[in-house]
Amino acid sequence: MKKTVLFSLIILALITQLTSCSGGSDSTTISCTETGPYACQTGATEPLYTYQWALNAAQSYFAGYPPVADGTTDLNVEAVHAQGIKGQGVNVMVLDDGLEINHIDLKANINPAMTWNFQTNTSDSTPSGLNEAHGTNVAGMIAAAQNGIGVMGIAPRVTLGGAKFIGLTNGAIANVVEAYGGALWSKNTDVFNASYSKSYIVPIDYSPTSSVEIAAVQSFPNLRNGKGAVMVKSAANDYVDIEVKENGSFIYAATCPQFEYRGASYSLVSCANPSSDTVRLELPMIVTAAANAKGYKSSYSSAGSVVWITGLGGELGSLGNYGEAGSAEKNRGPQIYSTDLMGCDRGYSKYGESPDDAAQFLIGGSPINQEKNSNCDFSQMNGTSSSAPTVTGVVALMLSANPNLGWRDIRDILRRTARQMNPDYGNQNYRNHQVNLTLNPTLSDSTSTVLTDGATAARIDYGWQTNGAGNKYSNWYGFGLADAKAAVNMAKAYTVYKPTQLIVPIFDAGIKDSQVKYGEVKELGKFSVTSEKAMDMIQLGFQASKKATDEANNVCMGSVGIFLKSPQGSVSVLSTPYNVFYDKTSHAKDTRNGGKIGPDSIYVLGSYAFYGENPKGDWTVYAVSGTPLPTSECAANPRLTMDYRIYNAE
């Protein structure tokens, strides 16, 4: 009997050793050539790994708390780590509010030749502000080392660079071209992480072709010796409202309407459209939404048709000991554990935090903090600021597995390997009900998806859809949740590389001088496409039509939703009515005017929902328009002119 037990234990040990080098549950044996003390091991070597649910949900501490975590939603990274693929040879650049270069869990991976501080004009990117911990948290999610200390990044052997780039205390605007690959310290970047963005409460003019940031991003294909770099960018946290600030201080929350139905209110639209920051319309920009540990869109995560992929960002409020308290339904749950500015006098984990706002782990001097985080070197952070670096980490693993991937290949693999999540969300919480366009803002009983010219109600959310090329897309999740194992496997097998040149097409004339009717669905018109090349993004540029007289012709885009139907019958909601441009609070500084656009500016929207479709044929553009508020500055019966351009999928 004892011999049998001993034999069984030996066999078990052998199997364990083999699986540790074979990608976990993989049925095929995969060799691991990594060397060193942590070779071919997962993050289980790190003391805080149990809180890193995004890396292993099933064995996470939070798996024991079903109201906040489902125990299955993660990025599927362990099989990749067990193969010894941990980001080796890949340069990641974190552009943020700084990066603490001497952090105990980061410094092993930081390349001092890849750091910069636009505030001090030195190579020390460590921020000076006590609360400037954002970039250090972002960096840890990607690149915290595997060393038996703290947490582990998704790519724990990546080469890390970073810059003090945003939030400059002298009010200067950092040099975007330098940061985006044009300086010695940034030029060798493979992947940029941009957990920042601009927000607008009025439509912003797309031109004067107007942004140095757009020019720099359009030049990314020149980097990596012509293979091209990508930038992973947060979709923003403006689903509920936009916090308006002035000189850095909070002024008021720019809200959006809630929709009433049977005595309750529902939040059906993303207050801000990610495309409002027009750099998100650029193809090398991988726009990333956030999901929580329950496998559902994070409550704050902005939604729109330029979202490419979803990463993990956790929920709005993280309370209890580690973030296990409350429920995801109440916007509570764990966030993403990471590195923080070191010491309990600064960062997000520090003395004086309140249990009403922070988990005990973050409260300097609390018993939990003393036991697990006594020097406050670690923290947790939410937001699409967190989901973006989780995807950046996955991209680093892909490039580590196959350094020959070009920028289009990276996007392609992320898209093709993404997992559909929350497939029925479009039918939940009355999202499938039509919105009344004259009775602001209420829902009707109808759930029809048909767009009827002249109708006074319409669906404004279609949930997940399968387009004419068979691709599933959602404004909440893009193509779905990133999957590291599937992405790395595809990267390793990838042999036919896409061209890296970025051809920016010119806008073609689409619809001229078509009348908008507030309170109705209005077919603005059709435009015809002759190309048969599979498409990537389509962009529509709107202007209020010029009138022969000086009569005003402002169109209030806060009330006007733009829906587009492809020749193959797919429908994309490029913007919703009742967005942040629509509303107005009583705050004296709330100067919103209905989101008016005139004839001398261009309002551009984009969509990935038709990805892969043959665009040949007639496209139909609809204005699904609510009724503007009386305070809006809208012309009666305004007319819109629209141009379009289509990027090929290559």
Partner: protein, 159 residues
């Protein structure tokens, strides 16, 4: 912990210290970038110098200098206040080709940066009108290049 809700206490005031010496009559009341002018202020703004860039129109609120060089405050048609460093960006053009095309503009620039690995050239002009004129002309002369007159309407913040 609500990092993105965290109120960013970094003051942008210093940016506007450099605007004190601005020459326009509106200079003392120029609001921060990203803010929206009232309808009456917009009417006043539309009497100022107009800058045309493609289909878009901007009006100059003030001109001056910041610590990093020339600075022009503008307002767009929606009434949003923006900032230009009087820069012209020429992208998607090899540097040697760009140099040949921009030679005649150099006398009106305060600096030129060549970013070879990105095929980008950044020209900074003394005056926004010269920058806008250069953009219009270079777009014709360099049809394969992407030429922009950047205006910043918002400061990025953690998201």
């Amino acid at each position: 912990m609500l990092p993105f809700k965290y109120i960013y206490l970094r003051s942008l005031c210093a940016l506007f210290i450099g605007l004190i010496a601005m020459t326009s009559g509106l200079a003392q009341t120029i609001p921060p970038i990203g803010s929206t002018l009232t309808a009456s202020d917009m009417e006043t703004a539309k009497t100022k110098t107009q800058i045309q860039d493609g289909k878009s129109v901007l009006w100059v609120l003030s001109t001056g200098r910041s610590s990093s060089g020339p600075l022009t405050m503008l307002v767009n048609e929606q009434g949003v206040v923006g900032r230009s460093a009087n820069e012209v960006i020429i992208a998607n053009s090899p540097i040697e080709q760009t140099k040949l095309r921009i030679a005649s503009y150099l006398s009106k620039t305060v600096s030129v940066d060549y970013v070879d690995n990105m095929k980008i050239t950044v020209l900074r002009f003394s005056a926004i009108a010269d920058a806008a004129k250069a953009v219009a002309e270079l777009r014709t002369a360099m049809p394969d290049a992407r030429i922009t007159l950047p205006v910043v309407y918002s400061i990025p913040r953690p998201r």
